[in-house]
């Protein structure tokens, strides 16, 4: 695990998301509850819609372009749609949001 501080929890609106730019494209960090965050790829498997702009409901997000809905826990598309997005470990420590970037490093090394 390589935990990287990406900002404060308060910077992410409740039931909203923010983007993290990486060399592998954007990661979306979602805040589903007062003290709950998830991180996934920002890119919808359908037509590359920006998931950080979707409506967050429960532990799910709905893509703003064509309403594909993903589980933020598993990255699996919900309902009739088939597909998945990458998920990344993320945690809250003392009001700061920490993202595990080891997956990015591995991919970069590979």
């Amino acid at each position: 695990m390589i935990w990287t501080d990406i900002g404060t929890l308060a910077d992410i609106p409740l039931r909203g998301a923010r983007r993290v730019k990486t060399t592998k494209g954007c990661i979306a960090v979602f805040r589903t509850g007062e003290e709950e965050v998830f991180a996934t790829s920002n890119t919808c498997a359908h037509k590359q819609g920006p998931l950080a702009e979707g409506i967050v409901h429960g532990r799910k997000v709905t893509c703003p372009l064509h309403s594909w809905t993903y589980s933020l826990e598993t990255g699996e598309a919900q309902g009739a749609d088939e597909g998945a997005i990458a998920t990344y470990p993320v945690k809250i420590e003392a009001g700061r949001v920490l993202l595990d970037v080891s997956a990015l490093a591995e991919k970069a090394a590979a």
Partner: protein, 811 residues
């Protein structure tokens, strides 16, 4: 075998026979019926009259059924006498000996002995002959019917005749319709609904005479009114038809007296149905008749059972007139009322409470909770705890899960709870039948009879199907907002207002949302309803808005945005164009001229949005709200400023309208147009509101469309001055904001409520002023540029990524 003779093949005696044969009772049955047919579902004659059902569909027992059970049918034969000393029934065509005898002769319609009451064309509404006579009369184009009696039966007759195309007038002696079941307010709404479907209703109408040469031609009232009539239906009530019992010397009051085992004063003779009197009570509704039938069958089988009086509820079987009444709702000392009214939707509910018990309920317009209230009345439940929210029905009772969710409430009912009052079917029987494979409403009706008679409990039975089958059952019916709730948009709006719900969590909690915090369907809708209802209190929630409204720009297929500044009334200046051109260059935007007389800048990155807005703000421009469910553009022509045909300053009016309305949130987008003359260069007649200027003033049309549907506007009003045009337009928009379902464009909403209703509301100048006042209160919050609020920190920062890891080594 014992010989059982039954006089009368109606619904009560039919039910007795069913019970006996189901139990395998060894009776040799002879069945007399004065009508030349067997048992049919008499309460379903109304759908036969209206043409919604054929007679075949309401036959309960056909020839095959009688043959199968060895019943000797003597239909079309009247019973002349009962000779108790010899134990024989004397029919017109001969005698039949009996060991046991059931009298089930029912009731006869009450015919007022007016002059002319015996003319051909005067009918009652009791049997198939009456029904057929009315159907026949309706066959002639332009035929007129007069129905005397505005009770349950009379109104069903009137509605049926109207559906058959007749001109129908209902004469009712009392001050409001159905006075035995409804109070005045509900009676008023019912009258309004009937009049809406073309039925004329005359109250306090006393009939003097029926006149005609050899047949009915007219009805004359005491006040001198004369009504032409091809047929007169007298539906003023029924009276027990137990004469044959009285003649035989059985003890009678107003009808044949029976004990709780349905036995008459002769131990071998029983009576059942509308011809009996029990403890001074007479009967006219089907539910207690079926109770009697069950008890009588048990008695004949030698089992113990006793008939008891119980509370009754009523529904009117007229499609579209939704009313329900139960219990006692007379005003009396010590009784209190809880009343809910929604005049705009024609809804009225009244609960009558005495000693913390619900004793009566009257509902009109929305009767979904009727059975729940009826249950509280029957069970004499103590309602003190839930009194505050009682009128909102079972969905809003806090506490246990059973109260929070109607399905849970049904699930929590014990197996012996009665679901179908007509047929006495309890929950356990229904669940068993579903378990045995009856997975549709029709199958359940066929197997258990639940909801197969009057149909009032259909909703409950469907809920049982839903509870028992889970997701595999599709109920149809009123469409809820989304899967998070069973409530409709209208319900949610009403409850937000009535229960003063001012936050989304309050809505989720108090209205028993099934999800933690909604879904992409309900969240934007609830957000809108809350800000429309409580403009000063509710904090708009960006996270409940679709991306475009949250980012104040339109997302494009590649994730970039389009930016469109407002051009008031389609007017711009050289300086504005220079600023737009500079911004387009700086942010590498494509430039498109839109159909709404504005300029769109496409391909702007999210990170650049605050900066481009700041640039445009600096040149005096504001957001064009091209992304919002709110006011979009006001398209105009140049009008009297330049045009030789212009009749008024259409550009000026367009700008004034845009300045009045901009920033307001609406259920869906709103586009306006103002044309300076009927040549209509601004294409105002396909807008949500379109004003066409004429020499004498302004023609205001509404509910146009030019998208998925194309609609021409309908004329709302013609006014003389600009001020009036603006006042009417704002009032229309506010009415739309207050009543329309989220994502219904004005034309869809007007289709639902009717332009006449919109006109009626808006033509009241006080109402128009009130709507304008409420609109201005809302605009005090929302008439401002959202771009300007996001060009400086901390807001602008939110458009940037929270972190940029591209510069850092990942290790």
């Amino acid at each position: 075998m014992e010989r059982l003779v039954v006089i009368g093949a109606g619904m009560a005696s039919g039910r007795v026979l069913e019970h006996l044969f189901e139990a395998g009772a060894p009776f040799e049955v002879t069945l007399f019926n004065a009508e030349p047919r067997g048992n049919y579902n008499r309460i379903m004659l109304s759908p036969v009259l209206s043409g919604e059902k054929a007679f075949d569909e309401i036959v309960t027992h056909d020839d095959a059924w009688y043959a199968e059970h060895g019943v000797t049918c003597r239909f079309g034969e009247k019973v002349v006498a009962i000779d108790r000393s010899r134990k024989v029934v004397v029919g017109e065509r001969g005698e039949v000996p009996y060991d046991r005898l059931i009298i089930a002769t029912g009731s006869a319609p009450f015919i007022i002995p007016l002059p002319g009451h015996d003319l051909p064309g005067v009918v009652a509404y009791r049997d198939l002959e009456d029904t057929n006579a009315m159907i026949e009369a309706s066959a002639r184009p332009g035929a007129k019917a007069v129905v005397i009696g505005g009770g349950l039966l009379g109104l069903e007759a009137a509605a049926g005749l109207r559906l058959r195309g007749m001109d129908v007038t209902v004469l009712h002696l009392m001050g409001h319709l159905m006075e035995r079941q409804l109070d005045e307010a509900a009676g008023y709404l019912l009258k309004k609904d009937l009049e809406k479907r073309g039925i004329e209703v005359l109250l306090k109408a006393s009939t003097k005479a029926i006149e005609g040469q050899g047949k009915v031609e007219r009805v004359v009232l005491e006040d001198g009114t004369v009504l032409d009539a091809d047929i007169v239906c007298m539906a003023v009530g029924i009276r027990p038809a137990g004469q044959v019992g009285a003649d035989a010397g059985l003890t009678c009051g107003k009808a044949i007296t029976v004990d709780a085992q349905m036995r008459t004063s002769d131990p071998d003779i029983f009576a059942v149905g509308e011809c009996v009197e029990f403890e001074g009570n007479l009967f006219g509704l089907v539910a207690p008749l079926y109770d009697q039938a069950r008890v009588l069958a048990k008695t004949l089988l030698g089992e113990d059972d006793a008939f008891a009086m119980r509370e009754l509820s009523t529904k009117l079987k007229v499609t579209g007139c939704d009313l329900f009444s139960a219990g006692d709702f007379a005003e009396r000392e010590g009784r209190e009322d809880i009343v809910f009214r929604d005049p705009a939707r024609g809804i009225y509910k009244r609960l009558v409470i005495e000693d913390d018990r619900l004793i009566g309920a009257v509902m009109y317009g929305d009767t979904a909770d009727g059975n729940w209230f009826f249950g509280l009345i029957k069970d004499q439940t103590d309602i003190e705890e839930i009194r505050d929210t009682l009128i909102y029905g079972p969905a809003f009772q806090g506490g246990g899960a059973a109260g929070a969710d109607p399905l849970a409430a049904v699930a929590a009912l014990p197996p012996e709870a009665e679901i179908c009052g007509c047929n006495g079917v309890c929950k356990g029987q229904i669940v068993d039948a579903i378990g045995a494979g009856a997975d549709t409403l029709d199958a359940l009706r066929a197997q258990t009879k639940a909801s197969a008679s009057c149909g009032t409990c259909t909703g409950l039975v469907e809920q049982l199907l839903a509870v028992t089958l889970g997701d595999s059952f599709d109920a149809g019916g009123a469409k809820p907002v989304c899967g998070c709730t069973d409530l409709t948009h209208e319900d949610v709006r009403r409850l937000i207002k009535a229960r003063e719900l001012r936050t989304q969590p309050a809505v989720w909690q108090e209205l028993a949302w099934k999800t933690v915090n909604g879904c992409p369907t309900c969240r934007p809708a609830i957000n809108f309803y809350l800000l429309a209802e409580w403009p000063l209190d509710y904090q708009d929630d960006a996270q409940s808005r679709f991306v475009n409204e949250r980012n104040h720009a339109n997302i494009q297929k590649d994730g970039t945005y389009s930016v469109m500044p407002r051009m008031w009334g389609g007017m711009t200046t050289a300086d504005e164009l220079l600023a737009i051109a500079a911004a387009a260059k700086k942010y590498e935007a494509a430039v498109k001229v839109t159909g709404g007389q504005r300029i769109d800048l496409l391909g702007v990155k999210k990170e650049d949005l605050p900066a481009i807005w700041a640039d445009l703000n600096a040149a005096g421009m504001v957001s064009g709200h091209a992304y919002s469910k709110g006011l979009r553009t006001v398209k105009t022509c140049v009008g009297t400023d330049w045009c030789r045909f212009g009749t008024q300053d259409s550009t000026g009016l367009g700008i004034k309208l845009e300045k009045k309305l901009w920033g307001s949130w609406t259920p869906h987008k709103v586009k306006l147009g103002v044309s300076g003359c009927p040549r209509n260069c601004a294409e105002a007649t396909c807008k949500d509101v379109g004003v066409v200027c004429v020499d004498s003033g302004y023609q205001i049309g509404v509910a146009g469309a030019a998208g998925m549907d194309v609609r021409e506007t309908q004329r709302l009003v013609d006014v003389a001055s600009e001020e009036e045009a603006i006042e009417w337009t704002a009032a229309f928009v506010q009415l739309y904001r207050e009543h329309a379902r989220y994502l219904d464009r004005p034309y869809k909403w007007v289709d639902k409520v009717g332009l006449e209703w919109v006109k009626e509301v808006l033509s009241d100048s006080a109402e128009r002023a009130a709507l304008n006042e409420r609109f201005e209160i809302s605009q005090s919050v929302y008439r401002k540029d959202p771009w300007a609020e996001h060009t400086s920190e901390p807001e602008a920062e939110k458009f940037q990524p929270i972190a940029d890891l591209t510069m850092e080594p990942a290790e």
